[in-house]
Symmetry: C2
Subunit: 431 residues, 2 copies
């Protein structure tokens, strides 16, 4: 007998969960459309070398990697970005900019399973490629807010930072890119003390460490207040200063354009992926500790993959996490679609009932045709259980008269209607 | 530098192809809805033992199988059915029947890549579980036709057979199930002579071989004619006779119910998967040699996986193949969605233009916001190239007057409109 469990960290979505997940996914597609993004679909299996190139050691070590039957070293994608960067270096290399690319599907990481974190997880991914300007950053923040609003999520907030503030200081202090990546991962996993200790060991100046400490501690809701105060302490670090100004500009433009959301500006906020260079953000709700989505600017990524130097900014939304958030906030799920059960009695009625089914479906009405040959009573019981809206019952007598019984399953009221009118009647009653 | 090719046999879908594939997939979801199917989503990675249990040696040998970091032997699913059977033996075991289950996504087989056959391919899968009756078979044929009609495909035809006809004869002649599976695979790959030779070697009677040969040669468009003639020769094989009657009944009911399609009844038609027991079919178009979809009845599958004995019938539609068929038949693709480019001139206008973008998107109008800071001329050239429908241009002068320029990009006509009216104007002009 085969093994009946799913793989540890992976799971089935039964109909009600699957519907929620598809609703979230469909909403991201709708947002992609509204913001002018075009979908690209890349394979789930890619060359190991591609996927491991820029993901950072942590992710690479936890990839589902293997050799295929042709001996190629391959892996399941742990994120979309490497595949998008591959496209930018090949098929889309000569496309005029900007490109607004959308992707959606499953990703795989061999992490320890925990609440909301699975080894197979779902993301929708948006990238604006080719624009270094704050408008692009604003668009990505705006579409994220638009998505959450469309789904009805409440009390979400944006945690916002800028990789350039930290990196500008560290570079000026002579910290190498590799050392910086290690530090960013420490900060991403909230190991502040270890990060400060490591910085000291590297030999950063006392002034540098004091400034770093101030950056790590600076946070607040008001972008102007937070960033204006910080700029004074960044006098000696022009790249950090530029970064703070860039972040200030993005947030000012967002606010002035009427894109409103709760926010916490945290200049010590870092994200683990090595390729971020500019503004970074995550979106959270009070009910969950894990982020619903996150992204940022990575102006060097395409170049690192051998493409032309190309500024880019992106965001990934965790579809299964958002579905979980919808549960956590007890949001009303999508209105249940109305369905009509068709129940024939006897063989002759079956043929006619199938004709009615065909006609109704042609008018966009969802039909559950009775395929069990049950009695009307049992078929109706089952339809009740399934929360079917209407039942159409066709017996030999009704058939002879060209009639059919239309029963409303909630009220148990029923009426005899002409078979030829039934599609019209249901079309009017079903939205 | 990482490798930039996709894995052999896998491919990218750039926007126009991705749109086609999603259109086909969306249409299958719409059909699932009309026919009362509920989606379940199962993991792409499953235990090797599960996937190899009933797929047959040919498919098992070509699975993407590997050990994960925890030492589990796993594989990428080569089909949906094993996962659905797993659900039927576990989470859905006690659900009242019938169940109508829908699944959609990618599957993986290490086959030799050729026209229309990829190592990563897309299917939508429909299963009606719990009904042994012809109505269920009719529903599956009907929804397949409905799908192809909705997509506008022309000249498609159904190739239809019944596994019970061949298996009834072979069982009566003492051919074991395993030998039968080998024979079915020979027939599926059109190796008729080898199949007949093997049958002789197994020791099937002369009468049996003559009957087999007749079954293999019997085909025609008229179900009554084909099956009535065949029944005479099946006198000695009651199970084959019952199968022919079952097929006859299904096709009669289909025809009488007004579900019309071109068909070829071929009683020697076999499908490679071992679990089929009843009616089987494929759907083809003249422009392609590979089937667009196929399915059939497999009443023993759930039992083989340790579930209750459960009759079932299903069909899988090849989404990427259908997208290819749409190309081959030069069918008009989905009408292109109308998009509006918004182009601000100067910083002050940018803020106001972002407000307009927000307002338009709130009304369901797709907007490409100018994120490159280009001159109006260059931004309009780009919008032309992208086949954008309208452009809204907002300069300092218009801004001062509360106006915005609305330009129709095909006609190059433009007019000055009040900013406050622009959403209404575009809502009316864009469907």
């Amino acid at each position: 007998m085969p093994k009946f469990q799913t793989i540890r960290g992976m799971r089935d979505f039964l109909p009600s969960e699957a519907e929620k997940l598809r609703h979230v996914e469909g909403t991201t597609q709708q947002i992609a459309n509204l913001y002018g993004f075009k979908e690209v679909i890349t394979p789930l299996v890619e060359h190991y070398d591609l996927l491991s190139a820029k993901s950072g050691d942590e992710i690479t070590a936890r990839m589902y990697a293997f050799k295929d039957l042709g001996g190629r070293k391959v892996a399941l994608r742990p994120e979309f970005t490497a595949s998008i960067a591959r496209l930018m270096a090949t098929a889309l290399r000569n496309q005029p900019k900007p490109l607004r690319l959308f992707s959606s599907g499953t990703l795989y990481r061999y992490d320890e399973p925990q609440f909301g974190r699975y080894r197979e997880f779902w993301q929708s991914n948006f990238e604006i490629i080719g624009s270094p300007r704050p408008e692009a950053d604003v668009e990505v923040l705006s579409l994220t807010k638009h998505l959450l609003d469309t789904l009805g999520l409440q009390n979400y907030w944006f945690k916002i930072g800028h990789m350039g503030i930290l990196r500008g200081l560290l570079s000026k202090e002579g910290v190498t890119d590799e050392q910086q990546n290690t530090l960013m991962q420490l900060l991403d996993t909230k190991q502040m003390d270890k990060a400060l200790k490591t910085t000291k060991e590297i030999g950063v100046s006392t002034k540098g460490i004091a400034t770093l400490q101030e950056i790590l501690e600076t946070k607040g809701k008001d972008a102007s207040k937070v960033l204006t105060s910080l700029k004074e302490t960044l006098q000696k670090y022009p790249d950090s200063m530029k970064a703070a100004e860039n972040l200030h500009k993005i947030l000012q433009l967002t606010q002035d354009s009427g894109i409103k959301f709760s926010q916490s500006i945290e200049t010590g906020f870092a994200r683990g992926l090595e390729y971020y260079t500019g503004m970074i953000f995550e979106v959270l709700i009070p009910e969950m500790t894990i982020a619903l989505g996150g992204g940022g600017r990575y102006d060097k990524l395409v170049e690192l993959f051998g493409g032309e130097p190309t500024p880019a900014i992106g965001v990934a939304h965790g579809l299964d996490r958002i579905a979980l958030a919808i549960d956590k906030q007890n949001l009303p799920s999508k209105s249940i679609q109305e369905t009509t059960a068709i129940i024939p009695i006897g063989e002759e009625a079956t043929t006619q009932a199938l004709k009615v089914a065909l006609q109704l479906r042609g008018r966009g009405i969802a039909v559950e045709f009775e395929v069990m040959g049950r009695t009307v009573t049992r078929a109706l019981q089952d339809a009740d259980r399934r929360k079917t809206t209407f039942a159409l019952i066709l017996g030999p007598k009704e058939l002879k008269d060209g009639k059919i019984v239309l029963r409303h399953l909630k009220t148990h009221k029923q009426q005899l209607v002409d078979i030829k009118d039934v599609a019209n009647i249901l079309s009017e009653r079903i939205d």
